[in-house]
């Protein structure tokens, strides 16, 4: 089926960049390399910025990013081409032991701006709020900041964690925590907050009622070579869609 397009092809594809992409990339690489041992695919992380830079410099064939290529980057590497292959929702998360279950966007903004500092102010227990934020390089932060926080200035005392996994760990362990993470990462250890009455689920993201979403991209430098094109097609095909959904993202057709 899907893997037939690789027959007769050979060579190597180096992939680097956004970390959210890695599970999907790994699935694809594994399937392709098992079917055709002449092809070598390596997958590295590094973050969205690194992905763009590496593909721009020609160090890798595919550079992943969790955001669109910025204007400055486009200026430096004008030949970049982006392929969006999945949609990812971002949801505020709190500790499962927290009695709060829903918040309004304004409340969340006030919390992240440092105006609300105690859970009792939003209907919870009398306890200090511990805010967890992501770094500036994070695509997750970028979309959450734009679409949920409305670009307010986040309070400087907020803790900063370097990845989705670390965010989950931090919130899962701290009863007073609030943070945000990719919907794909939500499991029993954290509680996703109902935002303005809309539950952050894949269905709500697809049907557009949940607004805090972003796209995941693969970027190439100029027109992709046949092998790279085949890889992109494969990820965006039926097998790819299955894997994308399995990892908590929403495939783009």
């Amino acid at each position: 089926g899907e893997l037939e397009r690789f027959s007769g092809l050979q060579g190597k594809i180096d992939i680097a960049g956004g970390t959210a992409h890695i599970p999907v990339m790994n699935d694809a690489a594994r399937a392709i390399m098992t079917a055709n041992p002449d092809i070598v695919i390596t997958v590295a992380g590094g973050g969205s910025g690194v992905g763009v830079q590496k593909v721009g410099e020609g160090l890798v064939e595919i550079g992943n990013s969790g955001r669109s290529v910025s204007a400055a980057e486009m200026e430096k590497y004008p030949t970049l081409k982006s392929f969006a292959f999945a949609v990812d929702g971002v949801t505020p998360v709190i500790n499962p032991s927290n009695t709060v279950s829903g918040l309004t966007a304004v409340q969340i903004q006030d919390i992240f701006a440092g105006k609300i500092t105690n859970w009792s102010q939003v209907g919870g227990a009398d306890a200090e709020i511990h805010i967890y934020n992501r770094d500036e390089a994070s695509g997750t932060r970028s979309v959450f900041w734009k679409k949920c926080l409305n670009k307010i200035a986040i309070v400087e005392t907020a803790n900063v964690v370097p990845s989705n996994g670390a965010m989950k760990t931090a919130v899962a362990n701290d009863p007073q925590a609030i943070g945000y993470t990719s919907i794909g990462h939500v499991d029993a250890s954290v509680k996703a907050v109902v935002l303005d009455g809309v539950a952050p689920t894949q269905e709500n993201a697809i049907n557009g009622s949940y607004p805090v979403v972003r796209k995941l991209y693969m970027n190439t430098n100029g027109e992709p070579a046949p092998l790279v094109q085949a890889f992109i097609d494969y990820v965006m095909g039926a097998d790819g869609a299955t894997s994308i959904a399995q990892h908590g993202f929403i495939p783009i057709k």
């Binding site: 969205s48 910025g49 690194v50 500036e136 390089a137 400087e156 005392t157 370097p162 701290d174 925590a177």
Partner: protein
């Protein structure tokens, strides 16, 4: 110590006394010298590289931006002052905690503890250098941070305190092993003298053996500090990373290294990115300053500089 004042030395082949034309320099010394020179060059290369990449900031006179208190890249504020302060606070306090402990452990190994325990303890410490940093970070996220949060009921537990405790454990073996390898050389020769004079072991170590291994003590402090300043993962994982100057040990801080790790993945051309190298340069200069200072102190402490 050897031969530093011997002026010209030559290595004539064989047992001949004279070699009329063209003395043969033994290639070995040349090799050694080039190794040393090469190592020195690396430093300058590193320095040049950091300077080159942060040059734009200097040329364009935007240095003032760096030395402000606020890191808000989206609003065009690139202050890395909080990170510098955070780095120094963390590294110095970790060293201040680990160094005396390391010294205590060394003294234990060198005669204050039962001889039977010394060797296993040393092996334990040596083995500890192999524990990856990331493991320390991870264990303290699950063990230490919740503990601190519950103990002090203030802040989230991700804090200067958590980072410094973890970091102290990380740099402890470095300190112990460096002091130990020096003491190991010095002690046997001096011990008999001291002990025959009726000087107790504690005082012998404190007043005779330790001063005689001053170079090792200094090396331990420098390498320990270097390790503390240079560590990325522990700070990243447990210090909280809030880019502000902390009010107390329970507050979250961000170090320059964690900062670099956090920012390195953004777009490569922005001021944000250049500020990284400036941060690196500042780290570099900081260690340079501290080293110079230590040298001063040391040369004042023993002016003859001899006898080691």
């Amino acid at each position: 110590m050897l031969n530093r004042n011997s002026g010209k030395r030559d290595f004539t082949a064989g047992g001949r006394l004279t070699s009329p034309a063209g003395r043969i320099h033994f290639p070995g010394e040349l090799l050694l010298r080039s190794a040393a020179l090469f190592s020195a060059l690396i430093i300058f290369a590193l320095f040049g590289f950091l300077a080159y990449f942060s040059l734009p900031l200097f040329i364009e006179g935007r240095l003032g931006e760096l030395f402000s208190l606020h890191w808000r890249p989206f609003q065009g504020q690139f202050g890395i002052l909080p990170m510098i302060v955070g780095t120094l606070l963390l590294a110095l306090s970790a060293l201040a905690l680990a160094y005396p402990l390391g010294l205590g452990i060394c003294l234990f190994i060198h005669g204050l503890g039962p001889a039977l325990l010394a060797r296993p303890l040393l092996l334990l410490v040596q083995g500890m250098t192999g524990i990856p940093t990331v493991v320390y970070g991870f264990v303290s996220v699950f063990l230490l941070v919740p503990l601190l949060r519950n103990l002090f009921a203030h802040g989230s537990g991700f804090s200067l305190l958590a980072a410094l405790l973890t970091l102290a454990l990380l740099i402890l073996p470095t300190i112990v092993l460096l002091i130990h390898s020096q003491l190991g050389q010095v002690v046997p020769a001096l011990r008999l003298t001291a002990t025959a004079l009726g000087i107790a072991r504690e005082r012998e170590l404190l007043y005779i053996s330790l001063p005689a291994s001053s170079y090792g003590l200094l090396a331990a402090a420098i390498l320990g500090f270097g390790r503390a300043v240079g560590d990325t993962l522990i700070a990243l994982m447990v210090a909280g990373n809030a880019a502000r100057i902390p009010d107390s040990a329970f507050d979250s801080i961000r170090t320059l290294t964690a900062h670099i790790a956090l920012v390195v993945s953004t777009d490569s051309q922005s001021t944000t990115y250049q500020s990284l190298f400036a941060g690196g340069l500042i780290l570099f200069l900081t260690t340079a300053a501290i080293n110079l200072l230590l040298h001063r102190i040391k040369s004042r402490a023993c002016p003859s500089g001899d006898g080691s």
